[in-house]
């Protein structure tokens, strides 16, 4: 009973945020019925990309920007293709197992990457990811070479729903996405999440406090990659095929653009980035050939004028807002974990 009462008190105390979340939830439930048929697939891809960007941010909180993240998505996709298509595993079992497979691949990679920093980490993580992609291209058994694997089955879930259709699949993807985001949100707010952030802010200080920097960095890399693998499972079962070209460097570049545009300081930053740019891409559909140019221009201008991304815009605008609004924003801003250590000169 006390548990229930505590929950009620929590809801009442956070009624504003709970209200917003409920409205967002309702919006996400009715959204697929409001858009055109093909746009449901755009929404499914958006949900998958949200898992990818949030898991990517999880790794960046330690200060390392992994360019092997998209190959990790591919790792999950290939794992589920082999498990469900090749060995006949059910979808619900393959989903966590494929995530684990991506995590295992990340663990394997993290040894040579452990000592690299900055520029070297970019290039080394890219090379490690690309080595995976080259394996998929080169070895026809079991990965199918250039043509990939085309025997990924439609997921069945104890007979519930026809997941070959877009709308039921949207709800499946929504459920998995919400679950992944909840776990990653808890991780971000936990002691573990704060430990990752202090590694980015001041690694030497963290080490002097007895924090094993290498261990926590590898842990972030493995966990983030495992969630990327889960995103890969959703991708493979929607497209019914896995091709190595999907996980090339072009996809990584778009991932970087989404994340930088949104900003990585807060949990919601990358989600805002990917949602805004997906929307922009839909609006610019008639100009699709120019989209990379527009994205390129946007990203350069963002880095020059808004280096912390779109999510820092309210904070930047605060001085121009009126006093009442100012106090309102003040109460709404919540700790992100970056406040725990303040360094002079940062």
């Amino acid at each position: 009973m006390t548990r229930f009462r505590r929950a009620v008190i929590f809801v009442v105390a956070h009624r504003r945020r709970v209200g917003w979340l409920a409205a967002l939830g309702l919006f996400l439930v009715i959204l697929p019925f409001l858009v055109r048929d093909y746009q449901v697939d755009v929404l499914i891809m958006l949900l998958i990309n949200i898992i990818i960007v949030v898991s990517f941010r999880l790794i960046t909180t330690t200060g390392r920007w992994s360019l092997a993240h998209i190959p990790m998505v591919g790792c999950g996709a290939y794992a589920t293709a082999l498990l469900t298509g090749g060995l006949g595993f059910p979808f619900w079992l393959s989903l966590p197992l494929s995530g684990l497979a991506a995590g295992a691949a990340a663990l394997l990679m993290s040894y040579p990457l452990a000592r690299t920093k900055g520029f070297a980490f970019f290039v080394a993580s890219f090379a490690a990811g690309d080595a995976l992609r080259l394996c998929w291209t080169r070895f026809k058994v079991p990965f199918g070479g250039h043509k990939g694997l085309t025997n990924v089955p439609v997921p069945s879930f104890f007979g519930a729903g026809d997941f070959a259709q877009a709308i039921p699949y949207y709800f499946l993807a929504l459920a998995v996405t919400v679950l992944c985001l909840l776990v990653m949100w808890r991780l971000d707010r936990s002691r573990l999440g704060r430990t990752w952030k202090i590694l980015d802010m001041n690694e030497d200080l963290a080490k002097s406090l007895g924090i094993n920097a290498t261990f926590y960095k590898i842990l972030a890399f493995v966990l983030g990659s495992a969630f990327a693998g889960v995103a890969g499972v959703l991708l493979a079962h929607r497209l019914w095929a896995v091709v190595p070209a999907q996980f090339g460097f072009g996809a990584t570049l778009y991932l970087l653009v989404w994340v930088v545009f949104g900003g990585t300081r807060t949990f919601q930053g990358p989600i805002i980035g990917v949602a805004a740019l997906t929307l922009l891409r839909e609006i610019l559909k008639p100009l699709f050939e120019w989209v990379p140019l527009i994205f390129g221009t946007i990203i350069i201008l963002t880095l020059i004028f808004l280096p912390e991304g779109l999510e820092s815009l309210p904070r930047r605008l605060r001085p121009w807002l009126s006093k009442e609004r100012l106090s309102l924003l003040e109460t709404e801003s919540e700790p992100t974990g970056y406040e725990t250590v303040r360094q002079p000169g940062r």
């Binding site: 920007w65 040579p112 070297a120 080394a124 080595a131 570049l253 050939e289 350069i300």
Partner: protein, 285 residues
């Protein structure tokens, strides 16, 4: 015996190409701390310049190459002024800005010159060259003397000239160099001019050999990154050593097995070297 000399010749040509493109990248990284992903696009534009001036307007080959070096160098200068200067030496910002530049340049090239059409560049020197049983065309071989010439003049510039020494000082310690009156902005501009010009030279020389298309810079820039990392970022001597290592490795494995395996082995060799010496084979800190 013939196989050996042929492999050495091919390895030498591949290494020269790698060295030419990687040294420019390393120079830019050393002075500006910018990981310029658009280096590959500068290379592509060098090849396009030769296609336009040599293949279509029939200028002499070396005049076209010189024009490519100058034009791409100037493009690097402009991009430093408009884009990279605002990264303020932050490696991540600089890298992502260069990704934006890649998108912009690729779309512009596709829009101006088209995607599907072939852009054949005839060989300027189709004569066959034979050394010790190995044979190749002069067109392929020409990259070796030109690389030696360009890297040699870069070395003289960095060692003997006042601006060159200022550039090295700024790379070592920008603050100390600034205290001696060396402007970090001017150094960045000079480094970007020279680095981009070398990418342009590489593209121009490779235009008759490679197929010229808007995405040709992609694979090249990654090879260059691997070479720069293994040599130690900003370390030009290290880059040359690493270029020789990977040039010969790629040639031998491509000849014996296939090129995908060669790429795979390159990646694995790089990861192994980084696990042992994260600061690069020639690094010392």
């Amino acid at each position: 015996m013939e196989f050996l000399s042929q492999t050495i010749l091919n390895g030498l040509m591949t290494s020269s190409f790698y060295a030419l493109i990687a040294v420019g990248l390393s120079l830019v990284f050393g002075v500006m701390h910018i990981v310029n992903f658009a280096h590959g696009e500068f290379y592509m534009l060098g090849a396009y310049t030769v296609w336009i001036l040599f293949a279509k307007m029939e200028w002499p080959f070396f005049v076209a190459v010189a024009a490519a070096i100058v034009l791409v160098g100037l493009l690097g200068l402009v991009s430093e002024r408009l884009v990279f200067r605002h990264a303020h030496g932050k490696v991540l910002s600089g890298f992502i800005m260069s990704v934006g530049l890649v998108f912009i340049l690729q779309v512009l090239v596709v829009k101006i010159w088209g995607l599907g059409k072939m852009k054949p560049v005839p060989a300027a020197f189709p004569q066959v060259l034979e050394i010790a049983g190995a044979s190749t065309s002069w067109q392929r071989f020409i990259v070796v003397p030109v690389t030696v010439l360009l890297l040699g003049s870069l070395w003289i510039f960095l060692e003997r000239f006042r601006i060159g020494r200022a550039l090295r000082a700024s790379a070592l310690n920008p603050d100390a160099a600034a205290l001696q009156g060396i402007s970090p902005k001017k150094c960045a501009a000079v480094a970007m001019l020279l680095g981009s010009a070398m990418a342009g030279a590489a593209g121009a020389l490779m235009a008759p050999i490679m197929s010229v298309h808007p995405y040709m810079g992609h694979s090249v820039v990654w090879t260059a990154f691997v070479v720069v990392i293994v040599g130690g970022p900003g370390n030009i001597k290290g880059s040359i050593v690493a270029a020789l290592l990977f040039g010969f490795l790629t040639t031998v494995i491509s000849t014996l097995l296939d090129s995908t395996i060669a790429d795979l082995v390159n990646a694995l060799v790089m990861l192994t070297l980084l696990a042992i010496r994260p600061e690069g084979v020639m690094g010392h800190d």
